[in-house]
Protein backbone atom coordinates (compact mmCIF):
# COMPACT_ATOMS: atom_id res chain seq x y z
CA UNK A 1 0.00 0.00 0.00
CA UNK A 2 1.25 3.50 -0.83
CA UNK A 3 2.44 5.65 2.06
CA UNK A 4 0.94 9.05 2.86
CA UNK A 5 3.99 10.69 1.30
CA UNK A 6 3.64 8.66 -1.90
CA UNK A 7 -0.05 9.48 -2.17
CA UNK A 8 0.72 13.18 -1.87
CA UNK A 9 3.50 12.88 -4.46
CA UNK A 10 1.14 11.06 -6.82
CA UNK A 11 -1.43 13.82 -6.44
CA UNK A 12 1.20 16.48 -7.09
CA UNK A 13 2.43 14.62 -10.19
CA UNK A 14 -1.11 14.13 -11.45
CA UNK A 15 -1.60 17.90 -11.39
CA UNK A 16 1.24 18.15 -13.90
CA UNK A 17 -0.43 15.62 -16.28
CA UNK A 18 -2.89 17.79 -18.13
CA UNK A 19 -3.13 15.75 -21.31
CA UNK A 20 -2.09 16.87 -24.77
CA UNK A 21 -1.46 20.58 -25.11
CA UNK A 22 -0.63 21.10 -28.80
CA UNK A 23 -3.32 21.17 -31.49
CA UNK A 24 -1.76 18.13 -33.17
CA UNK A 25 -1.66 16.22 -29.88
CA UNK A 26 -5.27 17.06 -29.11
CA UNK A 27 -6.31 16.01 -32.61
CA UNK A 28 -4.48 12.71 -32.25
CA UNK A 29 -5.81 11.94 -28.78
CA UNK A 30 -9.36 12.69 -29.93
CA UNK A 31 -9.10 9.48 -31.94
CA UNK A 32 -7.72 7.37 -29.08
CA UNK A 33 -10.95 5.48 -28.58
CA UNK A 34 -11.55 5.03 -32.31
CA UNK A 35 -11.43 1.37 -33.37
CA UNK A 36 -13.32 0.86 -36.62
CA UNK A 37 -16.29 3.27 -36.50
CA UNK A 38 -18.77 0.50 -37.21
CA UNK A 39 -21.07 1.44 -34.36
CA UNK A 40 -21.62 4.91 -35.90
CA UNK A 41 -24.16 5.66 -38.63
CA UNK A 42 -22.94 6.66 -42.10
CA UNK A 43 -23.01 10.40 -42.55
CA UNK A 44 -21.27 11.57 -45.70
CA UNK A 45 -23.19 13.02 -48.63
CA UNK A 46 -22.10 10.39 -51.17
CA UNK A 47 -23.26 7.53 -48.99
CA UNK A 48 -26.55 9.32 -48.29
CA UNK A 49 -27.20 9.47 -52.03
CA UNK A 50 -26.42 5.75 -52.41
CA UNK A 51 -28.72 5.01 -49.51
CA UNK A 52 -31.60 6.87 -51.17
CA UNK A 53 -31.03 5.02 -54.46
CA UNK A 54 -31.02 1.67 -52.69
CA UNK A 55 -34.12 2.61 -50.73
CA UNK A 56 -35.98 3.55 -53.96
CA UNK A 57 -34.88 0.25 -55.49
CA UNK A 58 -36.26 -1.71 -52.51
CA UNK A 59 -39.54 0.22 -52.44
CA UNK A 60 -40.19 -0.25 -56.16
CA UNK A 61 -43.20 1.71 -57.39
CA UNK A 62 -44.93 1.71 -53.98
CA UNK A 63 -46.04 4.97 -52.39
CA UNK A 64 -47.33 3.49 -49.12
CA UNK A 65 -45.61 5.20 -46.18
CA UNK A 66 -44.97 1.93 -44.30
CA UNK A 67 -43.37 0.34 -47.36
CA UNK A 68 -41.18 3.40 -47.92
CA UNK A 69 -40.08 3.33 -44.30
CA UNK A 70 -39.27 -0.39 -44.41
CA UNK A 71 -37.38 0.06 -47.67
CA UNK A 72 -35.34 2.79 -46.04
CA UNK A 73 -34.62 0.56 -43.06
CA UNK A 74 -33.56 -2.32 -45.33
CA UNK A 75 -31.34 0.00 -47.38
CA UNK A 76 -29.74 1.40 -44.25
CA UNK A 77 -28.96 -2.09 -42.95
CA UNK A 78 -27.64 -3.15 -46.36
CA UNK A 79 -25.31 -0.13 -46.40
CA UNK A 80 -24.05 -1.07 -42.92
CA UNK A 81 -23.48 -4.62 -44.10
CA UNK A 82 -21.40 -3.42 -47.04
CA UNK A 83 -19.42 -1.13 -44.75
CA UNK A 84 -18.58 -3.94 -42.29
CA UNK A 85 -17.45 -6.15 -45.16
CA UNK A 86 -15.27 -3.36 -46.52
CA UNK A 87 -13.66 -2.88 -43.12
CA UNK A 88 -12.95 -6.62 -42.90
CA UNK A 89 -11.37 -6.60 -46.35
CA UNK A 90 -9.32 -3.52 -45.51
CA UNK A 91 -8.03 -5.27 -42.39
CA UNK A 92 -7.07 -8.36 -44.37
CA UNK A 93 -5.44 -6.32 -47.15
CA UNK A 94 -3.58 -4.24 -44.58
CA UNK A 95 -2.24 -7.37 -42.89
CA UNK A 96 -1.15 -8.76 -46.26
CA UNK A 97 0.64 -5.54 -47.15
CA UNK A 98 2.42 -5.54 -43.81
CA UNK A 99 3.59 -9.15 -44.11
CA UNK A 100 4.52 -9.10 -47.74
CA UNK A 101 5.64 -5.52 -48.21
CA UNK A 102 2.98 -5.09 -50.89
CA UNK A 103 4.97 -7.20 -53.29
CA UNK A 104 2.80 -10.22 -53.65
CA UNK A 105 1.99 -11.47 -57.12
CA UNK A 106 -1.70 -11.93 -57.86
CA UNK A 107 -2.81 -15.51 -58.54
CA UNK A 108 -4.48 -14.33 -61.75
CA UNK A 109 -1.12 -13.32 -63.12
CA UNK A 110 0.47 -16.63 -62.26
CA UNK A 111 -2.17 -19.07 -63.39
CA UNK A 112 -5.82 -18.23 -63.85
CA UNK A 113 -6.94 -21.85 -63.51
CA UNK A 114 -5.19 -22.38 -60.20
CA UNK A 115 -7.52 -23.28 -57.33
CA UNK A 116 -7.20 -21.89 -53.79
CA UNK A 117 -3.95 -23.06 -52.29
CA UNK A 118 -3.60 -24.98 -49.06
CA UNK A 119 -0.32 -24.16 -47.43
CA UNK A 120 2.08 -25.51 -50.01
CA UNK A 121 3.98 -22.39 -51.07
CA UNK A 122 5.92 -19.67 -49.33
CA UNK A 123 3.38 -17.18 -50.66
CA UNK A 124 0.60 -19.17 -49.05
CA UNK A 125 2.47 -19.33 -45.75
CA UNK A 126 2.77 -15.55 -45.79
CA UNK A 127 -0.94 -15.22 -46.52
CA UNK A 128 -1.84 -17.54 -43.65
CA UNK A 129 0.48 -15.73 -41.25
CA UNK A 130 -0.98 -12.38 -42.22
CA UNK A 131 -4.56 -13.52 -41.68
CA UNK A 132 -3.68 -15.41 -38.49
CA UNK A 133 -2.63 -12.20 -36.75
CA UNK A 134 -5.85 -10.34 -37.41
CA UNK A 135 -8.26 -13.21 -36.74
CA UNK A 136 -9.11 -11.94 -33.23
CA UNK A 137 -10.06 -8.53 -34.69
CA UNK A 138 -12.11 -10.15 -37.44
CA UNK A 139 -14.04 -12.30 -35.00
CA UNK A 140 -14.94 -9.17 -33.01
CA UNK A 141 -16.17 -7.33 -36.10
CA UNK A 142 -18.35 -10.29 -37.11
CA UNK A 143 -21.09 -9.29 -34.69
CA UNK A 144 -21.67 -6.02 -36.60
CA UNK A 145 -22.11 -7.97 -39.82
CA UNK A 146 -24.58 -10.38 -38.23
CA UNK A 147 -26.54 -7.54 -36.68
CA UNK A 148 -26.81 -5.62 -39.98
CA UNK A 149 -27.84 -8.76 -41.89
CA UNK A 150 -30.56 -9.53 -39.34
CA UNK A 151 -31.87 -5.95 -39.51
CA UNK A 152 -31.97 -6.00 -43.31
CA UNK A 153 -33.64 -9.42 -43.52
CA UNK A 154 -36.30 -8.46 -40.98
CA UNK A 155 -37.14 -5.30 -42.96
CA UNK A 156 -37.27 -7.22 -46.26
CA UNK A 157 -39.59 -9.90 -44.87
CA UNK A 158 -41.91 -7.27 -43.38
CA UNK A 159 -41.82 -5.43 -46.68
CA UNK A 160 -42.73 -8.58 -48.60
CA UNK A 161 -45.60 -9.46 -46.27
CA UNK A 162 -47.04 -5.91 -46.39
CA UNK A 163 -46.80 -5.84 -50.19
CA UNK A 164 -48.59 -9.18 -50.26
CA UNK A 165 -51.29 -8.00 -47.82
CA UNK A 166 -51.85 -4.79 -49.82
CA UNK A 167 -52.56 -6.81 -52.94
CA UNK A 168 -55.28 -8.90 -51.26
Amino acid sequence: MASERQILANRRNAQKSTGPTTVLGKKRSSKNAYKHGLSLPMCNVGSQKQLEELSRLFAGDASDATILELAERAADAQADLIRVREVKTALLEGALMKTQGGNLAQPELLDSSRPLLTGETEEEQLFVNAVRHILPKLTKINRYEKRAARRRDRAIHELASIKSANKK
Binding site: L57, L92, L104, R132, T139, K146, H157, A160
Partner: protein, 182 residues
Protein backbone atom coordinates in the same frame (compact mmCIF):
# COMPACT_ATOMS: atom_id res chain seq x y z
CA UNK B 1 -22.89 -5.30 -54.60
CA UNK B 2 -19.12 -5.14 -54.89
CA UNK B 3 -17.42 -8.26 -53.57
CA UNK B 4 -14.44 -8.13 -51.31
CA UNK B 5 -11.89 -10.43 -52.90
CA UNK B 6 -8.33 -10.15 -51.66
CA UNK B 7 -5.57 -9.56 -54.15
CA UNK B 8 -4.05 -12.92 -53.26
CA UNK B 9 -7.28 -14.72 -54.15
CA UNK B 10 -8.25 -15.99 -57.55
CA UNK B 11 -10.80 -13.79 -59.30
CA UNK B 12 -11.62 -16.53 -61.79
CA UNK B 13 -12.38 -18.98 -58.96
CA UNK B 14 -14.66 -16.39 -57.45
CA UNK B 15 -16.42 -15.72 -60.77
CA UNK B 16 -16.95 -19.46 -61.17
CA UNK B 17 -18.49 -19.78 -57.72
CA UNK B 18 -20.76 -16.76 -58.32
CA UNK B 19 -21.96 -18.15 -61.65
CA UNK B 20 -22.69 -21.54 -60.06
CA UNK B 21 -24.72 -20.06 -57.20
CA UNK B 22 -26.60 -17.70 -59.52
CA UNK B 23 -27.51 -20.42 -61.98
CA UNK B 24 -28.66 -22.68 -59.13
CA UNK B 25 -30.95 -20.09 -57.54
CA UNK B 26 -31.86 -17.95 -60.55
CA UNK B 27 -32.77 -14.74 -58.67
CA UNK B 28 -35.78 -12.84 -59.98
CA UNK B 29 -35.67 -9.46 -58.21
CA UNK B 30 -33.48 -7.09 -56.23
CA UNK B 31 -34.07 -8.87 -52.91
CA UNK B 32 -33.28 -12.31 -54.27
CA UNK B 33 -30.17 -10.91 -55.94
CA UNK B 34 -29.14 -9.52 -52.54
CA UNK B 35 -29.58 -12.91 -50.88
CA UNK B 36 -27.62 -14.59 -53.67
CA UNK B 37 -24.79 -12.08 -53.16
CA UNK B 38 -24.82 -12.98 -49.47
CA UNK B 39 -24.63 -16.69 -50.25
CA UNK B 40 -21.67 -16.10 -52.59
CA UNK B 41 -19.95 -13.85 -50.06
CA UNK B 42 -20.30 -16.34 -47.22
CA UNK B 43 -19.40 -19.38 -49.33
CA UNK B 44 -16.22 -17.57 -50.33
CA UNK B 45 -15.64 -16.82 -46.65
CA UNK B 46 -16.00 -20.52 -45.77
CA UNK B 47 -13.38 -21.38 -48.41
CA UNK B 48 -11.08 -18.58 -47.25
CA UNK B 49 -11.12 -19.55 -43.59
CA UNK B 50 -10.88 -23.26 -44.28
CA UNK B 51 -7.80 -22.43 -46.32
CA UNK B 52 -6.46 -20.41 -43.37
CA UNK B 53 -7.19 -23.26 -40.93
CA UNK B 54 -5.34 -25.76 -43.11
CA UNK B 55 -2.50 -23.30 -43.61
CA UNK B 56 -2.13 -22.60 -39.89
CA UNK B 57 -1.87 -26.30 -39.18
CA UNK B 58 0.51 -26.95 -42.08
CA UNK B 59 2.75 -24.08 -41.03
CA UNK B 60 2.93 -25.51 -37.51
CA UNK B 61 3.80 -29.08 -38.55
CA UNK B 62 7.52 -28.51 -38.98
CA UNK B 63 7.83 -26.70 -35.65
CA UNK B 64 5.85 -29.47 -33.96
CA UNK B 65 8.07 -32.15 -35.47
CA UNK B 66 11.20 -30.28 -34.40
CA UNK B 67 9.94 -30.18 -30.81
CA UNK B 68 9.05 -33.89 -30.81
CA UNK B 69 12.42 -34.84 -32.30
CA UNK B 70 14.24 -32.67 -29.78
CA UNK B 71 12.51 -34.49 -26.93
CA UNK B 72 13.46 -37.85 -28.51
CA UNK B 73 17.06 -36.93 -29.31
CA UNK B 74 17.85 -35.18 -26.02
CA UNK B 75 19.55 -37.66 -23.67
CA UNK B 76 18.36 -37.86 -20.03
CA UNK B 77 21.52 -36.04 -18.96
CA UNK B 78 20.38 -33.10 -21.13
CA UNK B 79 23.94 -32.91 -22.46
CA UNK B 80 24.55 -31.39 -25.90
CA UNK B 81 21.15 -29.70 -25.93
CA UNK B 82 22.14 -27.25 -28.68
CA UNK B 83 23.44 -30.02 -30.91
CA UNK B 84 20.23 -32.03 -30.39
CA UNK B 85 18.16 -28.94 -31.15
CA UNK B 86 20.10 -28.33 -34.38
CA UNK B 87 19.67 -31.97 -35.47
CA UNK B 88 15.95 -31.84 -34.69
CA UNK B 89 15.61 -28.65 -36.77
CA UNK B 90 17.58 -30.15 -39.68
CA UNK B 91 15.51 -33.33 -39.71
CA UNK B 92 12.24 -31.42 -39.39
CA UNK B 93 13.26 -29.19 -42.28
CA UNK B 94 14.14 -32.14 -44.51
CA UNK B 95 11.15 -34.25 -43.46
CA UNK B 96 8.91 -33.29 -46.38
CA UNK B 97 11.67 -32.56 -48.90
CA UNK B 98 14.36 -35.19 -48.47
CA UNK B 99 13.50 -38.94 -48.54
CA UNK B 100 16.48 -39.81 -46.33
CA UNK B 101 15.41 -37.34 -43.61
CA UNK B 102 11.87 -38.64 -43.95
CA UNK B 103 13.02 -42.24 -43.31
CA UNK B 104 15.15 -41.12 -40.37
CA UNK B 105 12.22 -39.24 -38.84
CA UNK B 106 9.94 -42.26 -39.28
CA UNK B 107 12.43 -44.54 -37.57
CA UNK B 108 13.02 -42.10 -34.67
CA UNK B 109 9.28 -41.74 -34.15
CA UNK B 110 8.86 -45.52 -34.26
CA UNK B 111 11.61 -46.00 -31.67
CA UNK B 112 9.79 -43.59 -29.39
CA UNK B 113 6.51 -45.48 -29.91
CA UNK B 114 5.00 -42.67 -32.01
CA UNK B 115 3.80 -42.20 -35.57
CA UNK B 116 3.03 -39.23 -37.82
CA UNK B 117 -0.28 -38.56 -36.06
CA UNK B 118 1.77 -37.35 -33.09
CA UNK B 119 3.09 -34.49 -35.27
CA UNK B 120 -0.42 -33.30 -36.14
CA UNK B 121 -1.48 -33.58 -32.50
CA UNK B 122 1.50 -31.52 -31.34
CA UNK B 123 0.86 -28.96 -34.11
CA UNK B 124 -2.74 -28.63 -32.91
CA UNK B 125 -1.58 -27.80 -29.41
CA UNK B 126 0.92 -25.20 -30.70
CA UNK B 127 -1.66 -23.22 -32.67
CA UNK B 128 -4.85 -24.03 -30.76
CA UNK B 129 -5.89 -20.37 -30.31
CA UNK B 130 -5.35 -19.44 -33.95
CA UNK B 131 -7.20 -22.56 -35.09
CA UNK B 132 -10.10 -21.74 -32.79
CA UNK B 133 -10.32 -18.21 -34.24
CA UNK B 134 -10.13 -19.43 -37.85
CA UNK B 135 -12.76 -22.02 -37.01
CA UNK B 136 -14.98 -19.33 -35.49
CA UNK B 137 -14.70 -17.28 -38.70
CA UNK B 138 -15.50 -20.24 -40.90
CA UNK B 139 -18.43 -21.22 -38.65
CA UNK B 140 -19.75 -17.68 -38.79
CA UNK B 141 -19.52 -17.69 -42.60
CA UNK B 142 -21.41 -21.00 -42.66
CA UNK B 143 -24.13 -19.53 -40.43
CA UNK B 144 -24.33 -16.47 -42.68
CA UNK B 145 -24.74 -18.63 -45.77
CA UNK B 146 -27.44 -20.73 -44.09
CA UNK B 147 -29.26 -17.59 -42.93
CA UNK B 148 -29.23 -16.22 -46.51
CA UNK B 149 -30.57 -19.56 -47.80
CA UNK B 150 -33.36 -19.53 -45.22
CA UNK B 151 -34.16 -15.92 -46.06
CA UNK B 152 -34.48 -16.60 -49.77
CA UNK B 153 -36.73 -19.59 -49.06
CA UNK B 154 -38.93 -17.49 -46.76
CA UNK B 155 -39.03 -14.65 -49.27
CA UNK B 156 -39.97 -16.99 -52.11
CA UNK B 157 -42.71 -18.51 -50.00
CA UNK B 158 -44.32 -15.10 -49.44
CA UNK B 159 -43.77 -14.27 -53.11
CA UNK B 160 -45.51 -17.53 -54.06
CA UNK B 161 -48.50 -16.62 -51.86
CA UNK B 162 -48.63 -13.22 -53.55
CA UNK B 163 -48.43 -14.75 -57.05
CA UNK B 164 -51.17 -17.28 -56.23
CA UNK B 165 -53.44 -14.49 -55.03
CA UNK B 166 -52.80 -12.55 -58.25
CA UNK B 167 -53.53 -15.66 -60.27
CA UNK B 168 -56.74 -16.35 -58.26
CA UNK B 169 -57.90 -12.78 -58.85
CA UNK B 170 -57.27 -13.16 -62.58
CA UNK B 171 -59.29 -16.38 -62.62
CA UNK B 172 -62.18 -14.77 -60.74
CA UNK B 173 -62.10 -11.85 -63.15
CA UNK B 174 -62.23 -14.27 -66.10
CA UNK B 175 -65.19 -16.12 -64.62
CA UNK B 176 -67.23 -13.00 -63.78
CA UNK B 177 -68.75 -12.35 -67.27
CA UNK B 178 -69.55 -16.07 -67.64
CA UNK B 179 -71.48 -16.07 -64.37
CA UNK B 180 -73.17 -12.80 -65.29
CA UNK B 181 -74.04 -14.19 -68.71
CA UNK B 182 -75.36 -17.49 -67.34
Amino acid sequence: MSFNILRTESKSEFAKLKAEVESGIDPTDVFERGFVDDIVHHTWGIKRYQRVETGILNNALRKALAQILYEILLPPSKAMATKCWMSAQRLAHGWLLDPQSNRQVASLLKEAGLDESAIAAKAHTLVADDLANANRMSKSAREGRDRALRSIAKYRKSLAVQLRQNSDRALVADQAPLIAGA
